[in-house]
Amino acid sequence: MRASTDPHGKGVTMDVTAIVNGVERTADVEPRVLLVHWLRDELGLTGTNVGCDTSSCGACTVLIDGRSAKACNLFAVQVDGSDITTIEGLAIDGELHPMQQAFHECHALQCGYCTPGMVMAAVSLIDEYPDLGDRGVRVGLEGNLCRCTGYQNIVHAVLQAAGEQERHP
């Protein structure tokens, strides 16, 4: 931890080293910087959206060591040493993750603002509980708001992707 003389009045900063979408990133950040702002503003990963500022909507959900977390609810310094996956890191070699494919095929999005967070939350949910039914998916995604779809196609998509995962583990 050290003091810096940043023109924006940055005070004490700390080193953060994390694997973000497979790439090691090291930065000097103030302890008060939220993870979502670090991802968006410093790393340019704008796929992770900010919807509410109060950890209510889940638009900023990312994976930390494989588990979903709301990036507005963590400081960047808390992910030091972690492995972060954002929506940009989900597709491998341009091939959509089954969850992304299912969201697209099932029309599980309209405006798409909640989609990155919803997809990340769903990936983590299905990874942990592959056998969920409709109700289980709804319980698991209760922390992610969508205003366009009424959620029905989102639930379809998650179940479709879970089935896909079952067939191709």
Partner: protein, 759 residues
């Protein structure tokens, strides 16, 4: 020109098929750029200073300290607005920045631009505004008599409908008073945008919005620039639902950019978003229905009062809808209806999905149930007996000439099998009212169903010359469509491709960005109008291109024009002598522009009579709810719906609209309300303003999409977005009434309304 050897059947989805969204892959990958993702070199950040009072005189604004902060590049007040000081969608009454008086909580007073968002926020806090607080006018019932809060007075509009014999009465009379609270559109992507100075001294604005050209007219007026020096491009929109039809940060961004000569970006946070856009009008409604003993409606009397808040926004059109559709989708020979919308110091209200029809539907459907009870008739049967049909006359004197399959909608919804629900005591706790929180005891829970029917107009009304424009360009076998229709999530981008494929038989359809410089207005993405209006413009532009291609081929090949057909991208002559791929049929590019107008409508006369509307769409919902009357907890288990859609252009998208629209009706029924005390919104966050989650939303079951083609509409398709939001709310409340025996005259129905009803 090369003839093709084999017949090519193109594979991409056409009209009527479930084409996937063209922006879908980018959206699931996080690559779709929302307006909050914009960036430019040398960027400044804007911040708005807003009134902490609902009503106050501005004594002084001291910007010196803010301006002296390092990194601050501009602090602007009303004195810095170079053009028109006021803007407005219909009525130019809203200050760009308040000058002498603030009329609502959160009204913009000053602007800051700084080189970092935090610096901008600090500078905003350093602007010292001295106010002399005034007593806010917050009771809409007092507004007409109160001192005017605006030079234009407090009554924005009164519309009176007098139809038939005003003295008519009948054997059964039921009366009631109803209220609707203030709902927020609560789109997920808060307001954001970026303005850049352009080389000609004008400005370029990238913003999430619903109507680019109406924005341009207002922005240019306020900047004192000709319209062609303001270029607006749609940036990725995170939902709209009416909240982006009015300007929010548009002029502010441009002022800051013009003043500093640098790109300026603004992003509202959620609390600012709640005060930064209009809301659904709160309503107070008195009704008296008169019917014969067999249930035939004879007369409807109604008095509607909508709170428009501080500025006009689209209030004049909202009250027209609330009043025109106040009697519901029923044959009503006699009507005496008056609707008024007033100004108060409450937050400004304007467009939200359903636009006036939501409020009166809640009341007329409660009345229909009350009438059914008084007549000892089944509520569905009462609706069926009075249902409008093509050829019937509305209370505005307008005869319905288009499709009105109201009886079919009712029957499809009502006859759909009830959901197979487990008995309450066999359900997991999470399924009961209260869910994981204060869960109901199974033996307290009562289950009931409710039914409601609603309708509204499609497209703009009352003589407004509504149109959309599109350009179709065919070049090297590829088609580019340019249209300024704002894609806000509804899926117009998908439909535009489907329509172009249908008309030209080419799979690859490129959509150019929606912006103001290259194409005329597409009108607003509202009033369930874009599939019809911009769909119509795209269709017309494509047909014009097709016509020119066929003309060229006919001329070159020396065949009769009327002997040529274009099908699946192949031009063929009926005699078989010509067979050529569209890609090879013409040399240079062909470009055609089309402007699509719907048939003209008329203003309403002094008795509220006239052919004011183009078309109508109808929907019914049936709700199944569980209620714990002691705790006031509710679980909506099932929403079944049928809707009059004309023709389905894209089944997946149509059903998506219906599910999403129903969700917003569920929210209004049991959870969503902006709590406004003395003009101040108290719940400006998603922690306190609750919208339905995955657990609040029941399964939505589509009993039927009734496809009776609308004669005037392209492909016969009606707009789909709004009807689901209209009938869903009253269906749930009808079920709650059936479960509890309470009157429940207000939405949202809160736990205390059930557990602690006022006698």
């Amino acid at each position: 020109m090369t003839d093709v050897a084999t017949h090519r059947r193109t594979g991409a989805p056409r009209v009527g098929e479930s084409a996937p969204r063209p922006d879908g892959v980018a959206k699931v990958q996080g690559r779709f750029a929302f307006s909050s993702d914009l960036f430019a070199e040398n960027l400044l950040w804007g911040q708005t200073i807003r009134s902490p009072h609902a009503h106050a005189r501005i004594i002084d604004i001291d910007i010196r300290e803010a301006l002296s902060l390092p990194g601050v590049h501009a602090v602007l007040t009303a004195d810095d607005v170079p053009g028109e000081l006021h803007y407005g969608l219909e009525h130019q009454d809203q200050p760009v920045l308040a000058a002498d008086v603030v009329r609502y909580f959160g009204e913009p007073v000053a602007l800051v631009a700084a080189d970092h968002p935090e610096t901008a926020r600090r500078a905003a806090a350093a602007v010292v505004v001295s106010y002399e607080p005034l007593t806010p006018l917050v009771d809409s019932a007092l507004a007409a008599q109160a001192d005017p809060i605006h030079p234009d007075g407090n009554v924005l509009r009164t519309l009176t409908i007098r139809h038939g014999d005003l003295d008519a009465t009948a054997a059964v009379v039921v009366e009631g008073t109803y209220e609707v609270g203030m709902q927020d559109q609560a789109f997920m992507g808060p307001e954001s945008g970026m303005a850049l100075p352009s080389a000609d001294g004008g400005v370029e604005l990238f913003v999430s919005t619903q109507w680019l050209h109406a924005d341009r007219r207002q922005v240019a007026g306020c900047l004192g620039l000709p319209e062609d020096m303001v270029r607006i491009t749609l940036a990725g929109v995170g939902g709209a639902f009416g909240a982006r039809e009015d300007l929010s940060l548009h002029v502010h961004l441009c002022l800051l950019s013009q003043h500093t000569g640098r790109p300026v970006k603004m992003v509202y946070r959620r609390p600012e978003s709640f005060v930064g856009h209009v809301h659904r009008h709160p309503a107070r409604m008195w009704y008296r229905h008169h019917a014969d003993t067999d249930g035939t409606l004879v007369k409807v009397e109604a008095r509607l009062l909508l709170d428009g808040g501080a500025y006009a926004s689209s209030s004049l059109a909202v009250i027209a809808n609330a009043t025109c559709f106040a009697a519901g989708p029923y044959r009503v020979p006699h009507a005496d209806i008056e609707g008024t919308v007033v100004r108060t110091n409450n937050p400004p209200c304007g467009a939200m999905r359903g636009f006036g029809a939501v409020q009166s539907c809640f009341a007329h459907e409660a009345q229909m149930d009350k009438l059914a009870a008084a007549l000892a008739l089944d509520p569905v049967e009462l609706r069926r007996r009075n249902a409008l049909a093509t050829g019937d006359t509305l209370v505005t004197g307008q005869v319905i000439t288009g499709a009105a399959p109201v009886a079919e909608v009712i029957d499809a919804c009502a006859s759909h099998p009830l959901p197979d629900l487990a008995a309450v005591d066999e359900q997991p706790m999470m399924h009961r009212p209260g869910g994981a929180g204060r869960t109901a005891d199974a033996h307290h829970v009562r289950r009931a169903t409710g039914f409601a029917l609603g309708f509204k107009n499609l497209l703009f009304s009352e003589g407004f010359d509504d149109y959309s424009s599109a350009v179709c360009r065919l070049e090297n076998g590829a088609v580019t469509i340019t249209c300024a229709c704002a894609e806000v999530g509804q899926g117009f981008v998908t439909l535009a491709q489907q329509i172009a494929r249908e008309e030209l038989g080419i799979d690859e359809i490129v959509l150019a960005p929606a912006e103001t410089a290259t194409v005329g207005s597409a009108g607003s993405t509202s009033a369930s109008r874009q599939s019809w209006m911009s769909g119509g413009a795209v269709q017309a532009a494509c047909r014009a291109v097709r016509g020119r291609v066929l003309q060229q081929v006919a001329r070159r090949r020396g065949v009769a024009l009327d002997g040529l057909v274009l099908r699946d991208g192949i031009i063929e002559s009926l005699d078989g002598s010509v067979r050529v791929d569209l890609a090879d049929a013409v040399d240079g590019p062909i470009e055609e522009t089309a402007e699509y107008h719907h048939r003209p409508t008329q203003p309403l006369d002094e008795n509220g009579q006239g052919d004011a509307h183009v078309s109508f769409a109808f929907a019914a919902h049936r709700a199944v709810v569980d209620v714990d009357p002691e705790l006031g907890l509710v679980r909506v288990h099932d929403m079944t719906t049928a809707q009059d859609v004309g023709r389905v252009l894209n089944p997946l998208q149509a059903i998506g609209q219906i599910e999403g629209g129903t969700a917003q009706g569920v929210g209004l029924a049991v959870m969503e309300e902006l709590i406004v005390e003395d003009g101040i919104i108290k719940n400006r966050s998603f922690t306190d303003y609750l919208i339905p989650t995955t657990l609040d939303m029941p399964t939505v079951r589509i009993a039927a999409l009734i496809e009776e083609p609308e004669p005037d509409a392209p492909f016969g398709a009606k707009g789909i977005g709004e009807p689901p939001t209209i009938s869903s709310t009253p269906a749930i409340v009808a079920a709650l009434r059936a479960a509890t025996g309470l009157e429940l005259t207000r939405v949202p129905v809160r736990p205390q309304d059930i557990a602690l009803p006022r006698s």
